[in-house]
Symmetry: C2
Subunit: 420 residues, 2 copies
């Protein structure tokens, strides 16, 4: 294939991003959505609410990108200036959009307090396609000028993303020079470095599809991407490679194109229904939280106990006090009893449990990073002992413990050996 | 004051960032740390693992920034190239650092599998200051060349941030042209737009200190920043303004320079010790998770129940089944009973509870976004009814419900009225 690719730059405007008060999730999420088109995101840029520096950044973007997507700076507060600067950079006047102005006041009357600074939001570059905002007040827009395509979106993610999906993505898909299809194999139990080493030669030899490993916080993925005339043709290029790679990785693959172990578990439970419960000590509710963040969780997750203290382990969960005294709260027998008790209390098919030391303080017995993860089923229970390393952060230890718990349940439900 | 400011650019390298697989939290967190120095972060740039585009981005950064901080691209996988490109751009050779090479193998032997591609990590620009990596394998470094200061840090946040705090920050503080001090007032219950309107005139008139509101997901903050010869002088400029603004905002201020309501609550509990427990339905463990993410939580948080189903509400928590049948699980009486039962079960001084509909599916009775938040104390209990709006995301509804719960407990412990 020999086509010109379309290069995109995501230009986010907001001093709050440069001060570190806000995370630039828009650039991440737009990039992920853009992967569905043939357009390549080559740059993310963040610049503050300063006309002069924004103008300079727009000039750089004009010089290198075919498509410029701005986020932020469309709202009502006085430092919002993206529209003014972009319109000026492309020599377009701003004109008042009457439909937007009318709709705007409707929303403000209904949904939140009227403040006079909301007026400027209905000013838009002449000739643009208006993106009406059903999730907030500031409209976005798209225009073509000087050989570039410009899309402007509001900054708040809950407005930016649905607006991009509704208006931006269909518009960009029409421009796409080819059909790009990517699939990711989600891997748990092998690091990015090991995966890289395992497939190094193959990756160097491959062109289309291409393949690359990516590290995530507590797992990794191997992404395969193919480019072709049609989606079907791209899929046809990918399928045999995916199958071969998946075969080689075996049980380490927990899913394809999923976000997390809990998402893979939910998909699996939809196919092989079962219920589960949790008993959490050092993860402090994080396992329950992660699973219940997924819509549809309630069909499989019954509930759980956050037994942060020994009192709650004994008094609420019903773990034998003698067991805690004999072995300590961070121990194999207590992890096993926690899982078994959570299962009995809730009547779930399975229960997973975690007890450990997430740090930074220790208990004088175990090293920080020592975690026991339990899984109870009707006929049997299992406990894995982890030593994640005292140099790990609290959040890493909690997330990894959760991943191990979800992975044990995934293995059990899939009929794989629970312990690797 | 009339000094030249030092402008910094954070240049993050990694195709995984442009594909949206990884969030650029490094840029956010480094920016926040840099706010302690006189250095202004003016740009965040993300570019992929491509020597040519990285080189162009380095040239742009050289043209506009005094300080360039790179993140990523120092690790062992074959697409790591930041050092090579930066060294070339500043005409420095890469030389093998023997101490790093030795230490590296030590770590790899001890901590993870040896893979031959780890060797290149000990190559560093000639004459640089080495940042030894105690949190991973890839060393970072700093060098001055062509009138610019360059810092190179690894990409994984758990390596990048501690290395920047240990090596980067002390080095940059010495360069700072003046002392910049910022304080934030954390606000809950008033939106950014309302705060902006409230202080608009004052903000426009102010120079030093300056003041600006920032929106966060479910709360906001008002940041005041002063620049002076010394920290004491900057503080002296800030204090009277902070006091005046705080007075005007009243109870809406939940903290100063904190990250979240739970962090403010923990600080408050350290001064006025009390224990609490949780009973969570639609938040699914998120309240317990948020509080236990903070080191030191275990002195005040006893535990909780995630009662995701009515069975667990009745069977584990002990809420009267008749009450659930009569009023429904999402109701004021059930929220109250959940809090009271969690308090009784755990023996805590207080308990907070949440029952509601986080969506996207409804229950046929209440609108999505309907949430009841309870607080039980020895002598009394309270329930707040929220209607957060069916257009809100699941994660917003869960976070806001948690904020309200933490805020109710904060108000109670502070001796303020629990219900606004």
């Amino acid at each position: 294939m020999n086509r010109k690719t379309l290069d995109a730059e995501i230009l986010s405007v907001g001093t709050e991003l440069l001060r570190g008060h806000v995370t630039n999730t828009d650039a991440r999420d737009l990039s992920r959505l853009l992967a569905q088109t043939g357009i390549k995101v080559r740059w993310h840029t963040v610049v503050g609410d300063e006309p002069c520096r924004l103008r300079e950044s727009v000039e750089i973007a004009k010089g290198r990108a075919d498509i410029i997507i701005t986020t932020g700076g469309l709202g009502p507060t006085c430092d919002d200036l993206t529209k003014e600067v972009l319109a000026e950079a492309f020599s377009l006047p701003l004109v008042r959009n009457e439909a937007e102005a009318a709709g705007l006041y409707e929303y403000i009357r209904y949904g939140s307090a009227y403040t006079p600074n909301n007026q400027s939001q209905a000013l838009l570059p002449a000739g643009c396609t208006v993106f009406h905002n059903d999730w907030g007040t500031a409209p976005g827009c798209a225009f073509e000028a000087q050989g570039k395509l410009v899309l402007m979106l509001p900054g708040p993610p809950k407005e930016c993303l649905p607006m991009f999906e509704r208006y931006g993505l269909p518009l960009l898909k029409k421009l796409a020079p080819a059909c790009i299809v990517s699939h990711s194999l989600n891997i748990f139990g092998l690091g990015e470095s090991a995966v890289d080493e395992m497939f190094r030669e193959e990756m160097n030899a491959m062109q289309n599809p291409g393949m690359a490993p990516y590290a995530k916080e507590c797992d990794c993925l191997l992404q395969l991407t193919a480019e072709a005339e049609s989606e079907e043709a791209a899929e046809a290029l990918l399928r045999p490679v995916l199958a071969r790679v998946r075969e080689r990785l075996g049980d380490y693959v927990y899913g394809e194109d999923v976000e997390s172990l809990e998402e893979a578990l939910l998909a699996l439970l939809k196919e092989s229904p079962a219920t589960f419960a949790t008993a959490e000590s050092c993860t402090g509710g994080d396992i329950a939280r992660r699973f219940t963040e997924l819509p549809g969780a309630s069909a499989f997750f019954l509930g759980g106990v956050v037994s942060y203290t020994n009192e709650v382990k004994a008094g609420v969960l019903g773990v034998d006090r003698a067991l805690i005294e004999k072995y300590g709260a961070v121990s194999e027998p207590v992890a096993r009893a926690m899982a078994e008790r959570a299962r009995a209390l809730t009547g779930a098919d399975y229960a997973i449990s975690v007890t450990g030391l997430a740090g930074p303080d220790g208990d004088g017995v175990n090293e920080v990073g020592t975690v026991f993860v339990g899984l109870a089923a009707a006929e049997k229970s299992w406990v894995r002992e982890l030593h994640l390393g005292a140099f790990r952060t609290r959040s890493f230890i909690r997330r990894m413990a959760g991943n191990v718990a979800f992975d044990m349940l995934r293995r059990r439900i899939s009929g794989l050996p629970v312990m690797e």
